[in-house]
Subunit: 344 residues, 4 copies
Amino acid sequence: MIFLDCDYMQGAHPKILQRLQETNLEATVGYGQDHYCQRAKEAIRKACGREDLAVHFLVGGTQTNATVIDAILARHEGVIAAETGHISVHEAGAIEATGHKILTLPQHNGKLKAEEVEEYINNFYADDTYDHMVAPGLVYISNPTEYGTLYSLDELIDLSTVCEDAGIPLFMDGARLGYGLASPGYDVTLQDIVRLCDVFYIGGTKVGALFGEAVVTRRPEILGQFFPLIKQHGALLAKGRLLGLQFETLFTDNLYFEIAGHAVEQALRIKKAMIKAGYKPVIDSPTNQQFFKLPNKIVDKLGEWASFEYWGPRGEKESVIRMVTSWATDTNEVDILIEHIKTL
Amino acid sequence: MIFLDCDYMQGAHPKILQRLQETNLEATVGYGQDHYCQRAKEAIRKACGREDLAVHFLVGGTQTNATVIDAILARHEGVIAAETGHISVHEAGAIEATGHKILTLPQHNGKLKAEEVEEYINNFYADDTYDHMVAPGLVYISNPTEYGTLYSLDELIDLSTVCEDAGIPLFMDGARLGYGLASPGYDVTLQDIVRLCDVFYIGGTKVGALFGEAVVTRRPEILGQFFPLIKQHGALLAKGRLLGLQFETLFTDNLYFEIAGHAVEQALRIKKAMIKAGYKPVIDSPTNQQFFKLPNKIVDKLGEWASFEYWGPRGEKESVIRMVTSWATDTNEVDILIEHIKTL
Amino acid sequence: MIFLDCDYMQGAHPKILQRLQETNLEATVGYGQDHYCQRAKEAIRKACGREDLAVHFLVGGTQTNATVIDAILARHEGVIAAETGHISVHEAGAIEATGHKILTLPQHNGKLKAEEVEEYINNFYADDTYDHMVAPGLVYISNPTEYGTLYSLDELIDLSTVCEDAGIPLFMDGARLGYGLASPGYDVTLQDIVRLCDVFYIGGTKVGALFGEAVVTRRPEILGQFFPLIKQHGALLAKGRLLGLQFETLFTDNLYFEIAGHAVEQALRIKKAMIKAGYKPVIDSPTNQQFFKLPNKIVDKLGEWASFEYWGPRGEKESVIRMVTSWATDTNEVDILIEHIKTL
Amino acid sequence: MIFLDCDYMQGAHPKILQRLQETNLEATVGYGQDHYCQRAKEAIRKACGREDLAVHFLVGGTQTNATVIDAILARHEGVIAAETGHISVHEAGAIEATGHKILTLPQHNGKLKAEEVEEYINNFYADDTYDHMVAPGLVYISNPTEYGTLYSLDELIDLSTVCEDAGIPLFMDGARLGYGLASPGYDVTLQDIVRLCDVFYIGGTKVGALFGEAVVTRRPEILGQFFPLIKQHGALLAKGRLLGLQFETLFTDNLYFEIAGHAVEQALRIKKAMIKAGYKPVIDSPTNQQFFKLPNKIVDKLGEWASFEYWGPRGEKESVIRMVTSWATDTNEVDILIEHIKTL
């Protein structure tokens, strides 16, 4: 049985555990003021190709989204997001709990379209009564999206241009960023993201760490006094060095990209095998999440060999499932699964 | 140099790291639905002497305080706390950010007095205009307090009685609970706390874990739908098993109490040495935090051998310092420090 | 020039001003504890046909929506509303500012469909991950809607049944309730609304009062401690009697229904004239708001005789406009407008 | 029987009712965009001696405090106030409901001391852990205070200097401002307040209007996008002109100051009579609120002739009461009361 339910089923990459072990009894100051955090920040800045970036470490994705969005928005502003955006659907109202509306736009394979964002902003200010409405103050995208898809460089440039023209920051939720950047042929680099997004985060929880998200921005001023806000949101880890240690490890010797590449490779092998067996993916995802609409019988059969997420019925005879690989996915187990798939 | 700045300077007890190592590549479901969390809950229920307790795991203290308080209070209610309570001072407004006022009462060695709580509640309802005021809806205490002091059994019974009579739950912040329960001669047990507090939490971050706080209640109904609220507060760890593994380890073979006992023992040795050297503690703390008012010269001298927290000047010639031990404090290092103290 | 921009362009019905004048120098207690408020509550209870109703007076619609919704919802809950609902669009995020998500469903002539509400609730609880999502905790409808349409008795019964089955209260925003109840042939009475909605309010601001909304519920327990919440929301009028005086006047001698009936009559006369002149309404509204899609030339022409609200272009040659009558609309001015319309 | 319970027991000054009557059927646009509001703003600017002031009209004091404070503070900031400040005590947690802590300082006859504010701010930034605490972002004072006392010009200058040096705005709650400015010998003018406070409001509710508070600032930028925030707070009156009409009337021919002067004169007559009768005020208030500690027998006796507010017992034999005059207080009724007082 191979486990493909989600990308946070195992602990951490062994190198991370090893570092935790090695440094365990060292005494450091708390709250991220330690030298491991400093070194992790340097490593991330280096990978991003800029020395002047602000980097902050938080524990999980929902708290990172809520803290960043709350930091940037004025009280009367909301955040534009795709209707399928994680903040719109699966964060139990964490954004609204900070007092802000999510202004949802239609999704296209999980993505926002720049022209629709532009149209929304234009229509908003064309409406005489806009002062009675929630003003768009931020654009949120996830990349890879909840559907495993990626914004192309052109799409990011377009979104970035629309945002800049409107004076509205662009924020990328990179909970699975590694799995995007490691996707073969993806034309966007970490440096592009630094340049095109006002703020983004590099996900650790789903890409090799026990937990942790690294917020990066070339415009620290838009986050205001971010440290006390992290604290206020309950997102400040007492033993902050645990975050530093993990991100330093991930951004040493290219580990982050390497392990993400492994996950994507395995996902694409499974995808290819499924296609060969006659089953087309519902969405053409180039990353570690793969979605298939399958006859229920096939779902059951597949379920004998693999554990995955059931995304609900499509009519009476078919269902959609999601298979997710991660840094921890075992190549041999994938080999075996592929052999099984051939028999479908 | 011995580090006595705070109780979260090191990683985790080695047994915890070992368990993380052993289970690292096992695949489990997320968000605390795994078997380690189940086992940890069982272990905690056993230590508490009751099978019917609800147990929830969160990551850190501030988020636990905010989530619990937000869960219990109605919109028009506030929480009573000592003016020195952690929520009143050092959580960057996390409680107010959820919309609730902290109703501060004077502290007595960091503690609330039952009769003052009672008087506050009585005065509140005796005021004709109370409907224009924030109603007390919860009483918050920390135990040990921010000053290292402990509520005696009688004090807890009195507080509990006042709360029960008023129909207001009593909530104990146990971020350092182990260091209290392990204090020699302390007349309160974990079972007493279960019985006398409506809800409390057992701190892991400061007592042997990398992070983690275990919320325990015999009255789960007062927390309402707590799971989505944990999520909304950004306090739900994706790899929830990390919390389960840690608490299971801490509550196996009495580890939690043993390592807490070690910390308190070392703190009391230092305290005794200081007293012998002629320096009285500012507060008579029986736990792992020790506070001394010292001539500035002595502070400087002590600072050559130990690192500690500076609590600010008292007049021109004296200052208050805090020395904190933890599960990780090394007995030999304490031996050496004591030798130094003798020379003061 | 006749003014048809909105239904709050004039002051109050002359009888209300007269009552304010007569009672001006009388001294009464504040905050709605006075005898005028008591009498107004009695008058409303009588009109509603039940003596056991709780009645609260607030100043305006947005604050009433926010206060009621905040009172009813648990922290992890949101409110279902049509995408065109006033709370979704034109309240500047007042609901989200209290921490709650608005769960929008498609509108059908401004209305929710009971079966879609039911389906939403069912789908919500059928989703394994619903604990990570905002739970529906209230259903909000406006009646008349923002499009002037009305829920029929059958539609209300269906919605009420869905809500009751789901254990979710039904809340009616009745900012224009009078203009609905006075619509000729409308099969819903105030008594029906009391019975079918868990809580609703009777709009004064748009129906004859200077300001004021009367919240009515047969289930006061769902509002919790509502008085301090009104205060907390800044919605408690110091000179509360002004609200009592106005509602007492409106609910004496049937005034509320009479003046609402006048407004609807004038609106339907204009509608009829427009149809006769060859212009069909965009929405078939039986109340005081009328919507027409007109060639831009006709909009300009009409604009010479009447002031109305421009709802934006529809293509290059047409636009939608809204004409609104009120208790204050002058019959003679409508006569003149109709003569003009004949010439279109 | 004379009513001295509070300053909002009657309706409005007759000139205001007359203006409402005269303009009742005129059609104007809503939400304060009408010409009466424009004229009222001009009149207020004129009285303030500056043409460049931003003026906003809200309905009541609590909502004005909450909206202004929420507008100015960053998410991690709180507002400094005296422990007796209205926002600290009698607004049902309206400030905390917007997510902000009130940082209370000791009161001195209801007032903050500039040096204590300065010390608080200095101590805050001297604390190494200030990033874990709520930063002071605004100073709130009420003038007259809840005890009827007034800040002298020197006191205001000192506070203003401390605030300016710290880069923290100074906000004056002027719910009773008229009764201060009209106090004989008061050395502060409206122009001084404009100059020394960053933002303040002129109370209408308690000084002649049915309701209404006029927010004034020479620094509109600190309020951000204030209009949508007013709407979000439920503080935007649909028929905004009612506010304009009232403030225009109050600021025409000096009416505001004249009627406030009348109230203060009557209050001081009562004070004098009480002193003559042998009863010293608890606080030496030069405004329309007068506080006396009286033997309970005297309280009962006085209660036969006047209605007033009971502030609770002081020991077993005495109590404190508050007598409040207003623009509506009748001179003859005061004459009669004074005759009675002579017999005490």
